[in-house]
């Protein structure tokens, strides 16, 4: 009995610091966000309980609806392209020796870079005067201040950041496939595109799930890059949800409404994760 008590006490002693962390900085904030969503406050004065007023205001807010659309469009531009390009790079990269290692290092570089710094670098690349792209094309293009080009510009930067990273996941996935399986496919005459389509792609389904799931979840939360590139402009054309939430809380000083947005973001991400999980679980029944 005494030993059991001691064993349990030891376990909880080991867990205690992380319990403090998870409790104070993850669980408590979630409770606070729900509580805050029911109050009106301007970051300074007293808080007032207003029930579901914030919810009604946000869910009826066209600006917020617009930012949801912008985020979905951005995600829809970024994820398929980065996944396809990443897979292509990986298919070419897998199975290459020394040269492959150097290339993999190069492709992984943008993953290490602070998204804010990357955003600022690309702001220079897109700059109409003194920028690299204008110099390259020999003409001024008002890239990030154009309502049409700004969002594709943001998407291009995100794709540039992620392709190499996605490729490395696929390389790891290809390496995890037993050699005999690929050899058997080669004996059956599967080469080139057919090998990729009927052998590689089905076997890489778990990797595909991971890359798509994390791709959608991170694209949906994009903040740093947009902050550095456009701050949501011009005229809200790149106003992604995280940017909207930030400006609602800290520029407009309406944290109650931002709290509602936070809950909506969480709900959307939960639904996406759940749906992806279901979809891929039903189609990943075999083992290799």
């Amino acid at each position: 009995m005494d030993r059991t008590v001691r064993r349990i006490a030891t376990s909880y002693a080991l867990l205690l610091p992380s319990l403090i962390g998870v409790g104070c900085f993850l669980l408590l904030p979630i409770a606070v966000v729900l509580w805050l969503s029911l109050h009106s406050w301007n970051l300074l004065g007293p808080m007032k309980f207003t029930g579901l007023d914030n919810w009604r205001a946000v869910l009826g807010d066209r600006q917020f609806g617009h930012s949801l659309v912008v985020t979905v469009v951005l995600t829809a531009m970024v994820v398929p392209v980065q996944t396809a390009l990443g897979f292509g790079v990986a298919a070419l990269l897998a199975g290459r020796g020394r040269g492959g290692t150097v290339l993999r290092v190069v492709y992984a570089l943008p993953w290490m870079c602070a998204p804010v710094a990357v955003g600022v670098v690309w702001q220079w690349i897109f700059a109409p005067t003194g920028g690299a792209l204008s110099a390259l094309l020999g003409r001024r293009i008002e890239w990030l201040s154009s309502p049409v080009l700004a969002l594709p510009g943001v998407a291009a930067v995100l794709i540039w950041m992620n392709v190499g990273y996605v490729a490395l996941f696929f390389v790891a996935g290809i390496r995890a496939i037993p050699g005999e399986v690929l050899d058997a496919g080669a004996l059956d005459g599967a080469t080139g595109w057919r090998r990729t389509r009927w052998l590689l792609l089905p076997l890489l389904r778990p990797t595909m799930f991971f890359v798509l799931a994390t791709g959608v979840l991170t694209a949906f939360q994009t903040f740093d890059t947009v902050y550095a590139l456009t701050r949501g402009g011009p005229d809200h054309h790149t106003d992604v949800v995280a940017m909207r939430l930030y400006s609602e809380a800290f520029d407009a000083a309406r944290p109650g409404r931002a709290a509602v947005m936070a809950v909506v973001v969480f709900a959307v991400m939960f639904v996406i994760t759940f749906a992806q999980h279901r979809y891929f679980r039903d189609r990943t029944s075999y083992e290799y």
């Binding site: 030891t10 070419l92 290092v105 996941f169 930030y246």
Partner: protein, 277 residues
């Protein structure tokens, strides 16, 4: 046979060309921004953005370092080191408890930890800001470090998987020799887990050095400004003085590139790990 071989060589050659072109596209923005960082303002104003720098000057770095960026580098480094040490230490303890001991509530707690991995940072942003404002701790070092110091569910999850694969006989043998739990952790578990610990170190250093959203609201004052926040502010301050701004981004990016080259095996492994598990 020989045509087949030749076909393979041609295909391989084309594959390399495509890969190298992609690699050039990947590094070009970084290289050209670094090149702009060492240009004189005169050259930048008078020549195309694509000309190589001549003469090469470090003056832009000196200017931005004197303008407060030096301090931001130090603050960022201190924050990154503190958080990385705290996260590794505390995650090791918690992961060991989850992997190797049994206690009432273990499964439930583990699911709670896993669940918190799904919480987007935008959700906790405002409540954390509120809490630190209430405590009067905004614009302090604690505001930067405290929320991330106490381990991360993600690290705990990865470590737990790893710890479960350590043979139980090793731990039992150590216990027979009179070792207590801490001895076992220090002398058996940690030495056997070096690869995953190195991987986690890289992941944590990268994410903390680059973190932006929380430092932006928690410590945007000059005193405890981190490099990413300072970079965003420099962009406003040096409106279109691109050589100075590129010196700033180069300083924000270069330390991790160096770390990357030194630890590239861990980095590549970390990506493989996080993708497969």
């Amino acid at each position: 046979m020989s045509t087949e071989l030749r076909g393979g060589a041609v295909r391989s050659g084309i594959a390399y060309l495509v890969l190298i072109a992609g690699a050039l596209l990947t590094v070009a923005p970084l290289v050209s921004s670094a090149a702009t960082a060492v240009k004189t303002p005169g050259q930048f104003a008078n020549e195309s953005a694509l000309t190589p720098p001549h003469p090469v000057t470090l003056g832009n770095f000196r200017t931005v370092l004197d303008q407060g960026l030096g301090r931001a580098v130090a603050v960022t480094a201190l924050m990154t080191v503190c958080i990385t040490c705290g996260q590794l230490l505390i995650s090791i303890l918690a992961a060991y408890a989850f992997a190797r001991t049994s206690f009432p509530g273990r499964e439930t707690l583990f699911w709670v930890y896993l669940g918190t991995m799904m919480v987007p940072s935008a959700v906790t942003l405002i409540p954390l800001y509120l809490m630190f404002a209430k405590l009067g701790w905004l614009n302090t070092f604690w505001a930067l470090a405290l929320p991330f110091l106490f381990g991360s569910p993600y690290a705990i999850f990865l470590l737990r998987q790893y710890f479960r694969a350590i043979p139980g006989e090793l731990i039992d043998a150590a216990r027979m020799d009179g070792a207590n739990t801490l001895d076992i952790l220090v002398h058996v578990v940690v030495p056997m887990s070096r690869p995953i610990l190195a991987t986690l170190t890289v992941i944590t250093v990268v994410s903390q050095w680059n973190s932006f959203m929380w430092p932006l609201v928690a410590a945007s004052g000059a005193k405890w400004q981190v490099l990413t926040v300072a970079t965003a502010n420099m962009q406003t301050r040096y409106n279109s003085q691109w050589p100075l701004i590129m010196a700033t981004t180069t300083l924000a990016i270069a330390p991790l590139v160096v770390l990357f080259v030194v630890s590239q095996r861990q980095v590549l492994r970390s990506i493989a790990w996080t993708g497969l598990k």
